[in-house]
Structures are given as C-alpha cells and as structure tokens.
Amino acid sequence: MGLKQNLHNLKEKYRGTKFEQGFNALHTFLYLPNTTTHGGTHVKDATDLKRVMNTVIMAMIPVLIFGMFNAGYQHYLQINGTAEFLTMDNFIIGLKKVVPMLLVSYGVGLGIEFIFATVKKHEVEEGYLVTGMLVPLIMPVDLPLWMLAVAVAFGVVIGKELFGGTGMNILNPALTIRAFLFFNWAAWMSGDKVWVHGAVDGVKKISGTDAISGETVLGALAANKPLPENWDAMNSFLGFIPGSIGETSTLLILVGAAFLILTGIGSARIMLSAVIGAAVMGLIFNGIVDANVITESSKFYSLMNFPFWQHLLVGGIAFGIVFMATDPVSAAQTSTGKIIYGFLIGFFSILIRVFNPAYPEGVMMAILLLNVFAPTIDHYVVQANVKRRMKRLKVKTT
C-alpha cells in the first residue's frame, strides 16, 4: 500500500505545522484515520459525522438532478410555449447553471472553513458539506455567482464560525446565506423574473417573444392574479414549476425525507409536526375565507383561499421542512421540543407566506425564527424533567 504509507508519512511530516489541518482534512477524506480509542469505551460505533453528512447529501441528490432538468425545462417552456422534460438540452442548461453554483458554494465555504481550522488549530469539520449542497438548491437559477460568493462568506463567517464552528451555530447556515441574499439583493431573490433561466434579461436575448415571465404560483396568488394556465396540483407535486433549483419537486423531496427517516438521520418528529402545523394554519385561513370574514377584495384573499394541502405543494415549504428544519444543530434537541418546534415552523411558514407583503414565502423566516427560539423550547421541556426530580425530593422530605 504505497499511497497509504506515503500519506501516513506526510501526515507525520505536517504534524504541528500550519499545513496540518488542511492536510488532515484531505487525508481523512481518502482514508478513515488510524486513531484508536483511549480511556473511554474501547470500541466505537462505525458511524461518524462524515458518514452522517454523506447520508444527508445522498438524500439531496434526487432533487439536485431534478433541479438541473427543471432549469432547462422552464427555460424552453417559456421560449417555446411547450417543452419536453427529460432532454439532454434541459440537463445541460441545468448543469451549466448549477455546477458553477456548487463550485462557488463549496469553494468559498470550505475555503473559509480551512482557514478557520488552520488559524484555530482544530480539524476541518464536516458541517459545511451539507450546507454547501443546500445552498445552490435554495437559490434562483440565475443568481450571479459573485453574489452567491459574498453571501456564502457572510453566512459561514458570521452565521457559523463566530459561534465556534460546526455544532455551535444558532441559525441554520444555509438559510443565513439565503436571508443575506434576500435582504441585500431582493430583486434577485424574488419577483417574477428570477425563477426561470434567461428571464431577467430575456427581452434582450430572446427576440420576438414577450419578456419571459417566470412567475411562481405563490407570486400569482399574492398578487391576486389568476394562476398560470399550465399549473395544477399534480404538476406542482411532481415539480414541473418555476422556483428555486431544488425546491419544486415535492415528490422527490418526499423521497429524500423517506431516506432520511429510514436511515435515522433526519427527525421524523420535526417533519411530521411541521406538516401538521402548516396544515392547521392553512385550514384556519381556509376557514376564514369560508366564514366570509374577508372578501375577494382583500389582498390576502387568493393566498387564504388556496386549499391548505396545496400550500404544502408549492414554494419552498416542503424542502425547508425536510432538509433545513431538521438540521440537528439549530433545531430543538429534545423529543418533545422537536414536536413543538416542527409544528411552529409549519404554522409560521404559512402565516408569514400569507401576510408577508414583500415576498410570498415564509418557510425561510419561519425556520430562522424558530432556530432562535429552539433553545427556549428545549429549556421548558428540560424544566419539566427538573421539576419531576424536585417533586420526588419534596415528596420524600414531607
């Protein structure tokens, strides 16, 4: 084993130098290290954080590939009025748009991780492997790469490294990145021009056609406009609609969810309670409309009147619930806490979606909000345990 021995020699050579952390990150990617247990249990479970993160990435592969096809499909659909889905042309457009985003996301994010690891003399941690994959999936397809790079740098440094790195952050880093983009370059993150490749400068590029309109369902509803002609719930469930790269196909997100639950990595509690929370809020709004509390003249009418189950099929809510609300670091940590946390994410997602004047989607803000409150939720759950212990003592002493 020449390679193994050579790498081992290099590891010894770099030990204690400033190359140590960077080299080890690459080395441990190739080889599970030769470290043995000391002092505690003599055997350890075969799973480590790398394996866990790898599993989450695998769960996102289907939506990534679908997103690439969909990028091309939406593009040609707008130009030609009709398009096939599974064509090489579609995929190549997706490839050209998504791969550079992946490269920027991983390049900038991991670059910063390497620098911090070297300066702070700790190993490069795996958290960013998942974040780096999530980031392109929640972006509009035409987002300029420099914006992405700036946002990733912000998200990793402010959102994560300042708190101490993987495992210490309060907010989900991928959503921090998205929120940064959203509040800085809102025009690139919302509206009816950003969801379809070529739409922003469509007038210039595509002569003879009207400017491409890549309006999302939620955009149309928020403006009380009629839904796009080719939209129906099934289309939306399967994912043939405009939207962020990875968020459109509820079906494949469900496949990812099933994979995460079966592998035991994603929390089924959070996912299920979030779906219930969203359905409850949707039902409340449907009920308000049914009870004639508001009329069609209300600017919230269309969104409130949208059937509650269809709310789950559009926008980023499914993706957010499955891949971002379940981030164990920023979520609630106790079993009961997870149920409350998930429910409130679903609940607030729809609430914000309906009432947000600037942007008809709420899952990002809902998750970030609940990230902040997750420790509070856990605190009260843990207090119940503490009280039980105190009560036992009181019963004894009286």
């Binding site: 350890k44 164990p328 940590q333």
Partner: protein, 448 residues
C-alpha cells in the same frame, strides 16, 4: 415490593469470543500489586515500607481522607517496591509473593449477632470496605453515612461479560452471609436485581429480589436504582458487586480476606475464551498466559465499554471480573467513512447495513471510526439511555461546569459507566465517561 425491570432503551453489543463454561487455574504470580488508582479519589498513606513482610489481608495503606478505610495485601509476601510517579504520587505497591499465602486470621463472626457499628468496623479493618461504593459520585462509601438502601446487581449485561452462574457457582453460603452483612448496614433495604431464574442466588430474607430483563444497561446499578428507588439530592445509596458480596461473606464465615476471583477471558484475542481463577492484583501475563493470541491485540481489564487498558506487565484491578482482548484498530481504511462496512457495527443506518442482521456477532477493533467533533446529532443517545435524564444536556452542563444545572439535571443519579453506551454510539466521538467523571469530581469538590 419486588419490581420487574425491563429495559428497552439500551443496546446489546454482540461480540465474538464469548467465554466458554470451563475454569482453569492460573499459575501464581511472582509479583502482585495494589494500585491506589483503582480507588478513585483515594490518597494513600503508607503503613508499610519496602522490605516489610506482610500477610494476606494485612493493611498496607489507608485513605488520607478517612483513616478508617484500610487497603490490604491480597497475598502474603515482601513489599518489593513502592512505585512513585510525578510529584511522588504512589502508582503501585508491588508485593513479591510467598509460594503459599499466610492469612491474617480474623475471628469468625455471625453478622446477625453484631451491631451495625461492629459490622462496619470489621469491614473497615479487614480491607473489605473498598468493595462498598456509593452513589452519588461513584467513589468508596463514607463509613460515617447511613445509606437509604444498598443495591447489588445480579446481572452482567455488558458485552461478553462474565456469567455470574459460573463465577459464583458454589458460593451460596458466602453470598447468604454477605447479604446478612449488607442488611446490617442500612436502615432501608438491600435490593438485588437478577434474571428470573438466577440459580446462584441463595434464599434469604436479607434482600429484596427484583426481576430484571431486557437490554444492557439493565445490569448497571444506576439503571436499577432509577427504576426501584431513585436517588434524590442529599441521599446516599451504596453499591456492591455481586462477587464482592461473596468475598465479604467469606470473610465473616471463615475469618479470611480471600480476594480470589473467577474471571472471564473473552474476545477474539483469546485462543480459547473461558474462565480462570486469579487473585486480585495478579500480573496480567500470568492470568492470560498461554491463552492470548500473538498479534496486535489490546488487553482490557473489564468489558469493552468501561474496562481499563492493560499491558502484559500490568495487574488485575480491584473491581474487575474479566479480561477482554480485541484487535487494535490502528490502521487506515480507504474511504472507510462512507463505504458500507459489513464487519463493523452501527446503530445508525447511514450507509451501514448492520440493522439488517440484528443477531450477527462482530469482531470489533479499537479504531475510533472517525474523529472528535462537536456535538451535532440529537435524539440518539436517548435511545440507549434508560434513565429519566437528558444525557446531552447533562454532559453540556458539565462541560461548562454549571453546578446548579448539573444538580438539576440529575448528576447525583449517574456514574461514568452509565454513559458508556452513549459514548459508544456518539458520532462526534466525545468522551462521555471522562466528562461525567470530571463532573462528579467537580461536585465532590464543590458540594461534597
């Protein structure tokens, strides 16, 4: 008031190399050792010096904190060396053994005729007291205390652990006397949790029998205490190992302190996993002689979750009832972090398929299978942790030394061994047992 305990939150780690039911004699070691480090928190004050002759059962040092707690020689012989380390800390006291033991002869006693104080005095003077440990803190019991109850676990549930039916066969009388002794020490009850059909247990009114079943850690005392009579702040519960109850019983019946144990030799590092008879303090090489395979194996005194790593030149620890030998895992594994590995076990299903073969036995090595990381995953420790305690919250409160929080979250109810399973499954490869030991030490210092 017998209770049935059935543990569903836990993990039976199935390993190859279970000890077969046969007991071999070992050759008598030339040198035996008493190691103060076996007794957590004890600072020894020497009574003997190098060159002194001692009998088996003769005091060689006592605890600086409590002079009444004596530690005795396991064999008769000459004090060969008092080994010291940094700052003159006493590492081990080596005794060159006589070919035949000469015992300190205590008078035979019937515990039922003695007062509690007399029983305590006898245990303290004879060197049996260190067998009694206490909760909270998992240290040797304070002889001035009166515990609310005493717990003895009658189940060995850790991986490959010795079968009590074998290690205690023929010791019913000793056990019976031992339980009579324990019953004298508490105003409460002596609780024994064992399997329904435990045949080694004597019939006795001295203890309450509870039926235990299910997954490891059903055999750990903290689990049994939590289910039967949980510890509250300010309360003391004493704990004795089943084998040591027999040693205590033997002291009262025969007048001799006879620290002979039947030990399991288990794990794939042994050619013929089986049982041996040895005296506490015996040299490891003599106990495992001839049975240990050549090659890169780790010798563990104890089980793979809580045991102590030893070399052949080391000595059998005071509390351990087994040796495990497993392969060292000091090799690299190409893409070992993402490829499914059929020869490794994982409770997670993250590209690992051991969940498909729940009864398969594994030959695990000592590789950490990953590097140390911050805590990331949540909700998994609870699946192998049967106590009504939030493990990760308690660990974090220890890491930040928040004494009030540690107390509120239940540190008085745990010992390091309770966190062995959570440590085993930890994907962040954190040292849970070390953290808990540290937390308990902080509490001893700050609260007492």
């Amino acid at each position: 008031m017998s209770k049935d305990i059935r543990i569903k939150k836990g993990l039976d780690l199935k390993l190859k190399g279970e000890a077969a039911n046969k007991i071999a004699e070992t050759t008598r070691s030339k040198v035996y050792a008493v190691k103060p480090s076996d007794f957590h928190g004890v600072t020894p004050k020497m009574v003997v010096k190098e060159g002194d002759n001692v009998k088996a059962g003769e005091v060689i040092f006592y605890s600086k904190a409590d002079e009444k707690v004596k530690f005795v020689a396991p064999v008769s012989g000459t004090i060969q060396e008092i080994k010291r380390g940094e700052k003159r800390v006493i590492l081990e006291i080596l005794i060159a053994a006589d070919s035949q033991d000469v015992f300190v002869e205590h008078s035979k006693k019937n515990p039922n005729d003695l007062s509690t104080e007399e029983v305590k005095a006898h245990l303290l003077a004879s060197g049996c007291w260190p067998f009694i440990t206490q909760r909270p803190y998992d240290v040797i019991a304070n002889s001035a205390d009166s515990p609310k109850s005493i717990f003895v676990s009658g189940i060995n549930s850790a991986p490959l652990e010795a079968d009590l039916e074998i290690t205690l066969s023929g010791k019913k009388d000793f056990l019976k006397a031992g339980f009579e002794v324990l019953a004298k020490l508490t105003s409460g009850k002596v609780h024994v949790t064992a399997k329904k059909n435990a045949a080694y247990l004597p019939d006795s009114n001295s203890f309450v029998f509870h039926k235990g079943s299910g997954l490891h850690p059903v055999g750990l005392v903290s689990t049994q205490i939590a289910k039967i009579d949980p510890i509250n702040k300010g309360e003391k519960v004493w704990v004795v190992q089943m084998e040591d109850v027999a040693i205590i019983g033997e002291l009262f019946l025969t007048g001799k302190f006879n620290p002979t144990r039947i030990l399991a030799l288990a794990g794939t590092g042994f050619q013929d996993p089986s049982y041996v008879k040895a005296i506490i303090g015996a040299q490891v090489a003599d106990v495992v002689a001839g049975n240990l395979k050549e090659g890169n194996y780790r010798i563990i005194n104890g089980d793979v979750l809580t045991g102590e790593q030893k070399t052949r030149n080391g000595f059998l620890g005071f509390y351990h009832n087994m040796f495990t030998a497993i392969p060292e895992g000091d090799d690299y594994d190409f893409f070992g972090w993402n490829i499914p590995r059929p020869n490794k076990f994982s409770v997670y299903r993250a590209n690992m398929f051991s969940f498909l073969t729940p009864n398969k036995k594994y030959d695990l090595n000592t590789n950490t299978n990953g590097e140390h990381r911050a805590f990331v995953l949540t909700g998994d420790y609870e699946k192998v942790f049967p106590l009504d305690i939030y493990p990760i919250q308690l660990l974090k409160s220890i890491l930040v030394k928040d004494i009030d929080q540690m107390e509120a979250l239940g540190i008085y109810e745990v010992a390091p061994e309770d966190f062995a399973l959570t440590e085993y499954i930890c994907v962040s490869k954190q040292d849970h047992q070390r953290i808990v030991r540290h937390g308990l030490d902080v509490m001893i210092k700050e609260v007492g």
